[in-house]
């Protein structure tokens, strides 16, 4: 044991390879960042307009409070104006029986800042169907993991099976609090690991890992809620790329690259805009853990 006491610190000394370091980075030029993920859920729809910030800043993104945000239905020419609240958030409150987003319609987002109008177009795709959410007690021996003395929640949902892949973004909540860490971004194709073609049935069941509603240590009487947003292929790869860049670390880290944007900057605009606009058909269900 005495020998081990000497050898173990020595090994750690030799193999410890990562250190947080201070690096001086130049200030990047100003960009507008548009974060617009809109769905047909009957809740407040939010578009966030901010600017980029220095990389090592530890604050929330600087807000832009003088933008005019409008969503236009290109099929019906209906227009929806978003109102500024705070922290760069522009909100459209749904107060009619109708929804803001309709299946198969194309939508244009217009964000006007200081006379320049930044635009983006996206289409509303078909959604998935949620059958139920299952919850079961985990004493720590669950083969899928999760902490002991907690409840794991599983999603039972179906995807339309044909030769057109569907792309989904699953958002999980505990007691109305969204799990929003980078590790909580759950995206999938056709509810599985990849596109399902030539399926023998009309619908197919979601499979792990899409069905894992994040083993988040649910307790008795917690509310587990899930939203399945049917997003476009481009939005799916936007998330995929964003996660790649966020988790780009270690020995096999790749050269950092700028994520794609689907926001168009008008000719002559002094400040470029980047970000993402997505329309989604969303379904939601919740369950009290019992």
């Amino acid at each position: 044991m005495k020998k081990l006491a000497y050898i173990i610190p020595l090994i750690i000394f030799f193999i410890s390879c990562e250190n947080v370091v201070q690096i001086k980075l130049d200030e990047g030029s100003k960009l507008y960042v548009i974060d617009a993920f809109i769905s047909d859920l009957r809740t407040d729809q939010v578009v966030r307009v901010t600017t980029n910030d220095s990389y090592f800043s530890n604050r929330s993104a600087p807000p832009v409070d003088n933008a005019i945000v409008t969503l236009v239905d290109l099929n019906t020419s209906a227009s929806y104006s978003f109102s500024y609240t705070s922290k760069g958030k522009y909100v459209y409150s749904i107060n009619t029986p109708d929804t803001i987003a309709r299946l198969g319609h194309k939508y244009m987002l217009q964000v006007t800042i200081n006379g320049d109008t930044y635009t983006s177009i996206n289409e509303q795709n078909r959604g998935a169907v949620i059958d139920s959410i299952g919850a079961y007690y985990n004493d720590g021996s669950d083969p899928f993991g999760g902490p002991a003395n907690s409840y794991n929640c599983l999603l039972f949902a179906r995807d339309k099976a044909d030769n057109n892949p569907d792309y989904y973004w699953l958002r999980t909540f505990r007691n109305d609090t969204l799990f929003n860490g980078s590790a909580d971004i759950n995206i999938c194709i056709d509810g599985t690991g990849g596109a399902v073609l030539n399926a023998p049935t009309d619908t197919i069941a979601f499979t792990p890992s899409a069905t894992f509603l994040g083993f988040k240590n649910y307790k008795l009487n917690d509310v587990c809620k899930v939203e399945i947003h049917s997003i476009s292929r481009e939005t799916y790869f936007f998330f995929y790329q964003a996660l790649t860049q966020i988790n780009n670390a270690g020995l096999f880290a790749t050269t950092p690259e700028n994520i794609k944007t689907n926001i168009s900057t008008p000719n002559g605009a002094k400040i470029r805009s980047i970000g993402w606009f997505s329309m989604a058909t969303a379904v939601t269900k919740s369950k009290v853990v019992q």
């Binding site: 250190n19 370091v21 980075l25 990047g28 530890n58 096999f252 950092p256």
Partner: protein, 313 residues
């Protein structure tokens, strides 16, 4: 081409054209064993490199010092590079992720060597620049290649203290490897996403690499060694009143150590324990989604002492 000016100086010049049908493609921040090589095909032209160099060579003090200074220029066509956001690993359609462009490298090299006397060694210094121009990458402008090293200094020194004892030292200094760093971050769906507003590839460098290694070599005189061992045994036997009719251990070992050459080497790698960066990457701090940080990744980031015994048989 070699033009001899006199008995101690000459001018050498060279030109060569090379076609290379195998090229490395890598989008990792540092070289790894997983880097992918690809061959020229219907879609990928072979690399063609033209290189010219001219140098002046001169010896001083009866060839005790050898010196040279050279300049070179290399121009490359069909240099292979990858598009932004490329997926190179286990991709059947990897050629769709690649584009070809131009490359150029130029610089000067100075070399001094002392080859006679107890104190020997050499110093080599290179001042150079390596760039690429690939349409669709880095704003369609020349950008630093990952192999660009502005300064490269290599020194080696040997000092024969005695016939048997030798000290050696090696010092290396290299400008940091070019790397692409984000200069800002954006927030989308509460994710902190790094972003480089300039769009320039390899816009920064990791910290410079430098390292000092030391070595102490003791060449064992085997003849002397066997004699000393034999005398010790004789002396011991005398002490205990035994007869001295014994054979030298050399007789036993001589067939093994035919050349009578062996040495002990005590060496220290990275004497001043510098944690040279292998790569630098960026991440969101664990437990604090708003805070981002830079992390230096070092491979052998510590001092490494070693003892070696060499023998010829």
């Amino acid at each position: 081409m070699n033009y001899v000016l006199n008995s101690f100086s000459s001018i050498k010049a060279s030109y060569n054209r090379m076609a290379q049908y195998l090229q490395i493609i890598s989008n990792t921040a540092a070289s790894t064993p997983l880097d992918v090589y690809t061959i020229a095909s219907n879609n990928l032209k072979p690399l063609i490199a033209d290189q010219g160099a001219i140098g002046y060579f001169r010896n001083f003090k009866d060839n005790m010092f050898e010196t040279s200074i050279e300049v070179y220029y290399k121009y490359m066509q069909n240099q292979l590079d990858y598009v932004d956001n490329a997926d190179l690993f286990i991709n059947n359609y990897v050629e769709g992720q690649l584009i070809q462009g131009l490359g150029r490298a130029y610089g000067t090299e100075v070399y001094i060597k002392k080859s006679k006397g107890k104190l020997g060694g050499w110093v080599s210094y290179t001042l150079s620049k390596t760039e690429r121009l690939v349409r669709g990458i880095s704003n369609d402008d020349w950008f630093r290649s990952r192999y660009d090293r502005t300064h490269c200094l290599n020194t080696n020194m040997n000092w024969d203290i005695t016939k048997q004892l030798n000290i050696g030292a090696t010092f290396v200094f290299l400008t940091g490897t070019p790397a692409t760093f984000p200069n800002s971050k954006i927030q989308i769906q509460d994710l902190n996403i790094p972003y480089n507003t300039t769009g320039v590839r390899n816009n920064y460098r990791i910290t410079p690499y430098h390292r000092l290694d030391l070595g102490l070599t003791w060449n064992v005189d085997m003849e002397k060694h066997w004699k000393r061992k034999f005398n010790r045994r004789v002396w011991k036997r005398k002490l205990f009143g035994l007869d001295n009719n014994i054979s030298s251990p050399r007789k036993f070992f001589a067939p093994i150590f035919k050349n009578h050459e062996s040495s002990w080497v005590l060496s220290v790698y990275n004497v001043y324990n510098r944690r040279n960066a292998y790569s630098i990457y960026f991440r969101t701090k664990a437990g604090d989604p708003l805070q981002t940080e830079a992390v230096r990744f070092s491979v052998i980031g510590s001092i490494v002492p070693a003892i070696t015994y060499n023998f010829k048989f």
